[in-house]
Amino acid sequence: MHVTVRLFARLRELTGAAELTRELPDGATVGAAWESLARDFPSLTAYTASVSCAVNEEYSRPSHRLEDGDEIAFLPPVSGG
């Protein structure tokens, strides 16, 4: 299946991409999507412990199972205000 991955702030800079299309095995979790991404962009691994994720514009968990066409966002620690 294919998912869209959105990356923000420093994650966007480390990958050089605000948005990527990724192919994942059917039933892959959000956590698996992150691991797959970190294999291609090893500098992301520094964020494995602190990243948050959202699926289709709602906060989600690494254990969440993805569906074809989902939009995943990976969010480094936030600093709004």
Binding site: F8, A9, S50, A54, Y59, V78, G80, G81
Partner: protein, 158 residues
């Protein structure tokens, strides 16, 4: 038409308009918080900030904060606008307005809201200072983290 009260926008913020948007005839108090780009941070001379947001999720986070506040202070009403893009020293990055019949609820709801924004709104500041630039990274955003919510409540003095 009433303005949208939870919004991420590239436009200049207007605290008075936001205060007017939440106040009703039953309210005796409006507290506003305005976050401003200041000229220093952690010993560095700041030149400007770039704010980036995941806007649709940030606006949902603002709505969630409003729901949390209503649970606790049913008479208080909140509005939150956050600006994105390049902001100069002195520019307002966020405005929060809280209206309530009584001042205590207006103060605590406003303080609670800014603490929660800093915890769970997907917004990032890229600081450009004299000699370099850095992405500021604060809290790992987790709306379900009850401990973070307790911290926000404690800072709001409740």
């Amino acid at each position: 038409m009433a303005p949208r009260v939870f919004q991420v926008t590239p436009d200049r913020l207007d605290a008075a308009a936001l205060a007017a948007a939440v106040a009703t005839r039953a309210d005796g108090a409006v507290t506003t918080f305005v976050g401003i780009v200041r000229d220093h941070n952690g010993g560095r001379r700041v030149l400007w900030l770039d704010y980036e947001a995941y806007a649709p999720l940030a606006e949902k986070a603002f709505e969630r904060i409003d729901e949390e506040a209503r649970e606790r202070w049913p008479e208080a009403r909140l509005a939150i606008h956050h600006r994105i893009g390049r902001l100069e020293i002195g520019d307002a990055s966020i405005v929060i307005a809280a209206a309530s019949p009584h001042r205590s609820d207006a103060f605590v709801a406003c303080r609670y809201a800014i603490e929660r924004v800093k915890q769970i709104a997907p917004i990032w500041k890229h600081e450009h200072f004299e000699g370099g630039d850095v992405w500021i990274e604060g809290a790992t955003a987790d709306p379900a983290d009850a401990g973070a919510r307790e911290v926000a409540l404690a800072r709001a003095c409740t």
